[in-house]
C-alpha cells in the first residue's frame, strides 16, 4: 500500500467529475440460471393465466349461442393469432418443463445440486419441442 498512499504529497487535487444527472436507476441484479429461469417462469405463468381467462370466456360463449361462439373463434383465424398460438405453446412448454425442474429441486435430495444442469436440460427439451412444432404451425398459419 505504501506506493499508493505516498503519492499524495504535492500532487494536484484529483479531478472528480460532477455526478451524472439523469441516470439514478440501480443496476439490474445479474442473477444466473436460477434467477432467469424464475423470471421466465413468472412471465410465462402470468401470460398463460391471461390466456386461460380469455379462453374460458370464449369457450363459455358456446352456452350463450353457438353462432356467437363461431363468430368469435372465426376472428382468431388470422396470422397474428397464429403467431400468438406459437408463443402460447412456447410459454406452456417452458412452464411445464421448468415446473418439473422446480418439483425436483424441492423434493429430490440432489435437486439443488444439479439445478443448473437441469435448467439447461429444460432449455434443450424446450428447443426440441419448438423445432417440432413451430415450422409446422407457421406453415399452417401462412398457407391458409
Amino acid at each position: 500500500m505504501a506506493e499508493q498512499t505516498g503519492v499524495l504529497t504535492g500532487s494536484p487535487a484529483p479531478k472528480i467529475p460532477a455526478p451524472r444527472p439523469g441516470r439514478v436507476q440501480g443496476t439490474l441484479y445479474r442473477g444466473r440460471e436460477g434467477m432467469w429461469s424464475w423470471v421466465l417462469h413468472r412471465i410465462t405463468g402470468v401470460s398463460i393465466y391471461f390466456f386461460l381467462l380469455v379462453h374460458i370466456l370464449d369457450t363459455a360463449l358456446v352456452r350463450v349461442s353457438p353462432a356467437a361462439y363461431n363468430a368469435v373463434i372465426g376472428t382468431y383465424k388470422t396470422p397474428i393469432m397464429g403467431l400468438g398460438e406459437t408463443a402460447l405453446v412456447a410459454a406452456i412448454g417452458f412452464h411445464a418443463l421448468n415446473g418439473l425442474r422446480i418439483i425436483l429441486i424441492d423434493f429430490w435430495g440432489n435437486g439443488t445440486k444439479h439445478q443448473k444442469l437441469m435448467f439447461w436440460i429444460v432449455i434443450a427439451l424446450w428447443i426440441i419441442l419448438l423445432i417440432g412444432f413451430v415450422p409446422r404451425q407457421l406453415m399452417n398459419v401462412f398457407s391458409e
Partner: protein, 250 residues
C-alpha cells in the same frame, strides 16, 4: 513494508498498475432525493480489492464516501455490496477478476432501507434473524460437555459458516418485493440449530418458519447460493428446512 519497497524499486516497478473507473451509486439523505451515480478513477494493482478502491476514493479523493467495513478480510460481514450487479463482499472481490475495460459499478445492497451511499439499515434483516431463535436451547444442565458425533456435527456444518453479511437476503427477488419474508440468512441460521442434535427447540423453529412469510416464500432462484461469500449452499439449506417442515421434525 515501505522501506523494503524503497530499497527494491525495480521489483515495485515490475508490478503493473492500471487505472480503473469506479461508478459509485451515491446517496446523501441531506441533499439528495434520489441516489445518483458518481464516477471515480483509481490507480489499482491487480491484487487490490474493490475495498481498496473504495479506500482510495475515501482517503484521497472524496472523504464523504460512506461505506461499512470492519475486518476487511471476509470475516465480519460488514461490506456486502452490489458489485457489477451481483452481491459480493468488497474485501473479497479482486480488481483483476472484474472487467476493468468497463466501469465497475458499486452500489448498496437491495431491499433494505438506504441510509447513505453504500450503507443500508440492517435492522429488518437482524429482526428476522432474531425471530428464528438463533441460539442453543437445551433443558439439560451444562455440568458437562454435550457430546456430539462427527456425523451429527457434519449435518449442519455448512450453515455454521454464516457471517450475517446479508448478501444472500438482499439478493433474493422475493425479499426485494416482500419485506416480511424471513429471507435466506434467517433460514440458514435456523437450519444451523434445527439440525443440531444438542438443540431441543427444532419443532419451535420449524413452526415459526412454516408460515406464509417463512420457507414457503422461497422460489428457488439460487441468487442467495450464488451470492454467499462463504460458499454456503443456501438454497439447499432452505430445501432441507422445507422437507423438515413437511416431515414435522428435523
Amino acid at each position: 513494508m515501505s522501506t523494503v519497497l524503497e530499497e527494491r524499486p525495480a521489483a515495485a516497478d515490475a508490478i503493473q498498475k492500471f487505472t480503473a473507473t469506479m461508478m459509485i451509486r451515491r446517496f446523501d439523505p441531506d441533499t439528495d432525493t434520489e441516489p445518483r451515480w458518481q464516477e471515480f478513477s483509481v490507480e489499482m494493482l491487480p491484487t487490490d480489492r474493490v475495498l481498496d478502491a473504495l479506500h482510495q476514493i475515501k482517503w484521497e479523493q472524496d472523504g464523504s464516501l460512506t461505506f461499512r467495513r470492519s475486518c476487511a478480510h471476509g470475516v465480519c460481514g460488514s461490506d456486502a455490496m452490489r458489485i457489477n450487479g451481483r452481491n459480493r463482499l468488497a474485501c473479497k472481490t479482486l480488481m483483476k477478476d472484474l472487467d476493468i475495460s468497463k466501469p465497475v459499478y458499486v452500489e448498496a445492497i437491495k431491499g433494505l432501507p438506504l441510509e447513505k451511499d453504500l450503507v443500508v439499515d440492517m435492522e429488518p434483516f437482524f429482526a428476522s434473524y432474531r425471530e428464528v431463535q438463533p441460539f442453543l436451547q437445551s433443558s439439560s444442565k451444562p455440568d458437562k460437555e454435550r457430546l456430539q458425533s462427527a456425523e451429527q456435527r457434519a449435518r449442519f456444518d455448512d450453515t455454521t459458516k454464516c457471517i450475517l453479511c446479508a448478501a444472500c437476503t438482499s439478493s433474493c427477488p422475493v425479499f426485494w418485493t416482500d419485506g416480511q419474508y424471513f429471507g435466506p440468512a434467517a433460514i440458514v441460521n435456523a437450519h444451523r440449530f434445527i439440525f443440531d442434535s444438542r438443540d431441543e427447540a427444532s419443532e419451535v423453529r420449524l413452526d415459526i418458519l412454516n408460515d406464509k412469510e417463512g420457507v414457503w416464500r422461497c422460489r428457488t432462484t439460487f441468487n442467495c447460493t450464488e451470492a454467499c461469500p462463504r460458499g454456503i449452499q443456501v438454497t439447499q439449506a432452505i430445501a432441507e428446512v422445507k422437507a423438515a417442515v413437511l416431515r414435522g421434525h428435523a
